[in-house]
Amino acid sequence: MDMAQNGTSVSIQDLSLNFGAVSVLKTLNLDVAQGEFVVLLGPSGCGKSTLLNCVAGLLDISEGRIFIKGKNVTWEEPKDRGIGMVFQSYALYPQMTVEKNLSFGLRVAGLPRDEIVKRIARAAEILQIEPLLQRKPSALSGGQRQRVAIGRALVRDVDVFLFDEPLSNLDAKLRSELRVEIKLLHRKLQNTMIYVTHDQIEAMTLADRIAVMKGGVIQQLDAPQTIYNRPVNRFVAGFLGSPAMNFVEGRLEKHGDGWSFVAEDLKIPLGTYQFDGQPEAGPAVFGIRPEHVSLNSGTGWPFSTSANVEVVEPMGSDTLVWLKLAQQKFSVRVTSERTPQNDEAVTLGFDPMRASLFDAETGGRI
């Protein structure tokens, strides 16, 4: 991909937003490359939609600057920023046909008629909504409405697309279908896209980079795999992944010249673990994803121990096995064929290289 050479498409610099005394966004910085797909991910109230609205110019910011395509748009009206936006509720104009919905903004802007026709034809073709052009939104299904909403951004012929939870109003099946379509659309158009969601699957599948947000701050901005494998703090680790990462609370201790994680009678040697900095002894949280733990697969692991199965949850393609490690809940993901029985004694093994260690107090990665 050639996005790297094309430079920055959207640049957010030291952006803050306060509603009265409440600080919603705190000195945010984010550079989005040309053609990049960035997903803003976080729980509700984390400020991700607010940030998107600031980029769109729908909210006045308190401090900082926003550049789009090298132009300072901090004070520009939304229509002059070169953005198109897709909303969660679709926000189609209900009494206008699909064609009018697509053309209304262009007509108000005074574009020549044949140019409008051309753009609508192109958008309709890309989104395959040609047969719907004369219908009203009320006569469309949810998926069709969302396609039209994307079309309204498309006809604006802009470089930056903003998506505000566009799939949240759809049922699970449609959601996964449209997810693929949005991905295809991005490959076809090569536009910059900023996409807000609380759905980690959407984030993982769509994003070039994910920005995980909490409390108006970007916690981590990285490629999906990096975020998944090396979360920078306990919040990110727990927010991504389903089933969620196992956390075991205990202590980090130095034994001889090697470090270990100790919780009750459990002692995990951390010889293969890559520390972020210089570790210190003290309370810590050990995290490992259920699929990185292996069940009854011999003793070749850097660490292995035994436990009793408490509950088995078959999930179709695989099975989640719940047991206790150091008196704390712990889950292991195994393929369906290797499902153990309730109360069965099993051995589990994993490589601490795949684990994450967090400071018990700050939650930061160690």
Binding site: G7, T8, F67, N72, T74, W75
Partner: protein
């Protein structure tokens, strides 16, 4: 080259500076002419709504000589509450000079029972229509809603004849019945819509528990009906207190409500018009619904909206 490098100048706080400073922070807000226009319009509109009542209040506090000077808008030079006392106790309607107070008590005697009875009827109606619709119940409801739109004049005379035939015409019970009748359409609609919005599972669960029509009504529905009842009370109290037509036709001379008394006091042209007394009387008549309005605030608006919504 990134955008940040293009405009490498550090953001300067002085946004007024025109010398190529990059926009930073909130867009400077100018007080736009449009916004001034909006406030000017709203203030003028507010004056339109307030001036008549301002005139009434200041005039009611002036003596007649001062009123004859013609300074309509000026504050009273020597404020006096005599007109208010006169309006309450001595203002004349024809030969009787007892002031408005008998009308006030009549209005009270009419309003309180009318409100209670009409709300009881309407809540039962709404409940039965929602959860126990029998054959023809919806037709009845349709007729009732139709009644909400009918001009009163079509129904008044048959009601006069009907009430006279049972000896209730021009009596207190008579006017209470009339208010109950004409309050029923809108109130029933109100309660029906309220109950229809409740989860039907609630009703089903009570049925499974073996409760019957009245049991479910009193134990489950009624306790949940407080908000809609408040709206209904506001709607009915103001409506009935403000009524003039039914009062003058159905209440009978001895039960005339405050509005009828007021109109008689003001519009009987015998002798000198005592504007100050008349205006004091008008304010007194408007006081009860106005107090309800200002105390209930948003509930009042909700009552109007609810009353206005059709089924």
């Amino acid at each position: 080259m990134t955008a940040a490098q293009i405009t490498a100048i550090q953001p300067v706080q002085d946004a007024q500076d025109q010398t190529g400073v990059a926009p930073f922070g909130p867009k400077p807000r100018h007080v736009s002419p449009g916004r001034i226009g909006i406030y000017v319009f709203l203030v003028i509109a507010a004056l339109f709504f307030l001036i008549p009542v301002y005139i009434m209040i200041v005039t009611s506090l002036k003596g007649m000589p001062e009123i004859r000077l013609g300074h309509l808008f000026s504050l009273p030079a020597e404020p006096t509450f005599q007109p208010w006392a006169d309006a309450w106790l001595h203002a004349c309607t024809g030969r009787d000079c007892n002031g408005l107070s008998p009308g006030f008590y009549n209005s009270l005697k009419i309003t309180v029972p009318s409100v209670i009875i009409s709300i009881i009827c309407a809540s039962i109606n709404g409940y039965a229509l929602t959860f126990w619709p029998y054959k023809g119940a919806n037709l009845l409801f349709g007729l009732l809603v139709f009644g909400a739109f009918v001009p009163y004049q079509v129904v008044i005379y048959p009601l006069i004849i009907g009430l006279s035939s049972v000896g209730l015409f021009a009596t207190l019970p008579g006017i209470i019945i009339v208010h109950t009748i004409f309050g029923m359409p809108i109130l029933t609609l109100l309660f029906r819509n309220f109950y229809a919005a409740l989860p039907v599972e609630l009703f089903k669960a009570a049925r499974v528990d073996g409760a019957g029509f009245w049991r479910i009504f009193f134990s489950i529905m009624l306790p949940m009906s407080v908000p809609i009842t408040v709206v209904a009370i506001i709607l009915q109290v103001t409506g009935i207190w403000n009524d003039f037509l039914f009062g003058i036709v159905f209440a009978g001379r001895s039960n005339w409500p405050m509005t009828v008394q007021l109109n008689n006091i003001v519009n009987t042209t015998t002798g000198v018009r005592e504007y100050n007394v008349n205006m004091a009387a008008t304010i007194l008549t408007a006081a009860v619904p106005l107090i309800i309005y200002f105390v209930s605030g948003r509930w009042f608006v909700r009552g109007i909206a609810a009353g206005a919504v059709k089924g």
